[in-house]
Symmetry: C2
Subunit: 312 residues, 2 copies
């Protein structure tokens, strides 16, 4: 593994976030795509934009772009259109899941990214529809009328995203979460819940980035391990922060898991062992990268570090 | 246009519905797809199956398969795997939209296809998640690990479905519907609402069927017209039936639109002119088929007749 001491994650992230924000601004609009004869109603698009724009750490898009760069041999090449579309599509799925998750029949949260949640701002029916439309838009982004993005890539990205979002992924994990309030899960059950609820989409972000280049079988297997490790680490750290951080720092209501008697890593392992587990998962992620045969993995390394050592 | 007096729509539909029911039974399960290492939680899948199986007229799947047969020159060929997947994917999108539409924050309906609605049976949170997961599953079905289904076809089907389901299609139409309660729409506004809310997915069903074969540009344009005409006709007839049929016949609550002061074709044109308009749209649909250059259009003709002259 090449260790490039000049790599600066903050600068890398700022540059790539700028691409993502501008692309989301452009793609989450009322304009009809080329070849389609009608646009979307303004009120619905306003709720969709509120849910997506100007907020969030954009971890998933950054993972897509970092993985895409890792598998592309020309490290100076700009982010490909495919990687940018994949990055935004994953973020739309993430954003829709937050909109629905915040609704009164789910977590009933009123604060998200420091703003009123979508149903508080626009009403429940609009929040429901905005989430539904964001999911569809994710698949629209992956299937442009664009010969620069081969059909094999479009189909592969749709497959990865659909599987990660659906009943065998994120939605499935949320269903387990729903059924687990007040239930004593053991560590293996808790891990399975998180692997689906949060891990599947984080891992898919990495694999979708990899699908934007030509990764070898060895590299793909390593990236899958990396994605699994940081996916779980993200949730372990989330559980820690739910206890240690305050709402202002998190931009959402802190302490909710304990209040709702939800099983967490902290309730199961305690704070200290949870923190040690997160560090162990970071080591696993970095080891997977070192065995990937890929050279340009600095951004993936940096993002793994950020996931585990973040403060919010 | 070939007119085959031996064509029997009931027999054709029964045979094709059998394929669809068996495919949905097989694909809406907790089993992980080949190549994926985890399945879905049983409770979520139970709600998904409840929403999808054993109910509904399956108009959209039948349109997919009828269009697929129309563009395939060998009329004796069995339904292709691609057409069956497309048929089921469209039905999953339709089913998810009903689940979400019935929820208390939307239409608050308790009866659907003669059964308690999903949120009544499983709770609101499960209904929300089941709908979300059904949407994702639609795109999973369209992107199998299957070399029989070329990537170009997979990508094309995903594109058609995503555009029809999203903010520029079904979800957009529902948002207009939401904003139209108690509002006086003129005919052009009403038509635009229905074109998105119901028409987009019906038209997409036809176009997805066409994408499962090799249709000429002329045929595609004609099928698009056919789809637009029956899409609108379906809604006009729906508005008529909301007034003239009872809940037992409809399998859902009748008279709701008038009760909720929603604009409908009947409130705008009256019953008689609405019925005449439906017949005019049927004539347009049949004319489009006759100009398509396609020979094997009996099923499409029969389905158009059924849409307009149905009693429930």
């Amino acid at each position: 593994m090449k260790t490039d001491t000049t790599f600066n994650l903050s600068a890398w992230s700022a540059e790539h976030l700028d691409h993502v924000e501008r692309a989301l601004e452009r793609w989450v609009t009322a304009d009809a795509p080329v070849g389609v004869d009608h646009g979307a109603p303004a009120a619905l698009v306003e709720a969709m934009r509120y849910a997506v724009l100007d907020g969030g750490k954009r971890l998933r898009p950054l993972l897509v772009m970092a993985a895409s760069e890792a598998v592309n041999t020309d490290s100076s090449a700009p982010t490909s259109d495919a990687a940018l579309r994949a990055a935004c599509a994953v973020e739309l799925i993430h954003a829709y899941s937050l909109v629905h998750d915040d609704m009164p029949c789910m977590d009933n949260d009123v604060l998200r990214r420091g703003k009123p949640t979508v149903h508080v701002q626009f009403g429940e029916a609009s929040a429901l529809l905005a989430g539904d439309a964001l999911q569809a838009l994710a698949f629209e982004l992956l299937t442009p009328d664009d010969e620069k993005m081969p059909a094999t890539q479009q189909a592969c990205l749709c497959q990865l995203l659909a599987r990660a979002a659906g009943s065998g992924g994120m939605a499935g994990g949320q269903a387990i979460d729903l059924a687990s309030v007040g239930v004593a899960l053991n560590e293996s059950q808790l891990r399975e819940m998180h692997r689906l609820k949060t891990g599947a989409l984080l891992q898919a972000s990495v694999m979708m980035g990899a699908a934007c280049g030509d990764a070898s079988g060895v590299a793909l297997a390593a990236l899958k391990q990396y994605g699994a490790a940081i996916g779980l680490a993200f949730q372990v750290v989330d559980d820690i922060l739910d206890v240690t951080a305050d709402s202002a720092t998190l931009g959402k209501t802190a302490g909710k898991d304990a209040d709702q008697d939800k099983p967490t890593y902290v309730s199961l392992l305690g704070l200290e062992r949870s923190a040690a587990f997160a560090q162990e998962l970071l080591a696993q992620a970095l080891q997977a990268l070192s065995q990937s045969g890929l050279r340009n993995t600095q951004a993936l390394q940096g993002l793994a570090n950020m996931v585990v050592n973040r403060l919010c």
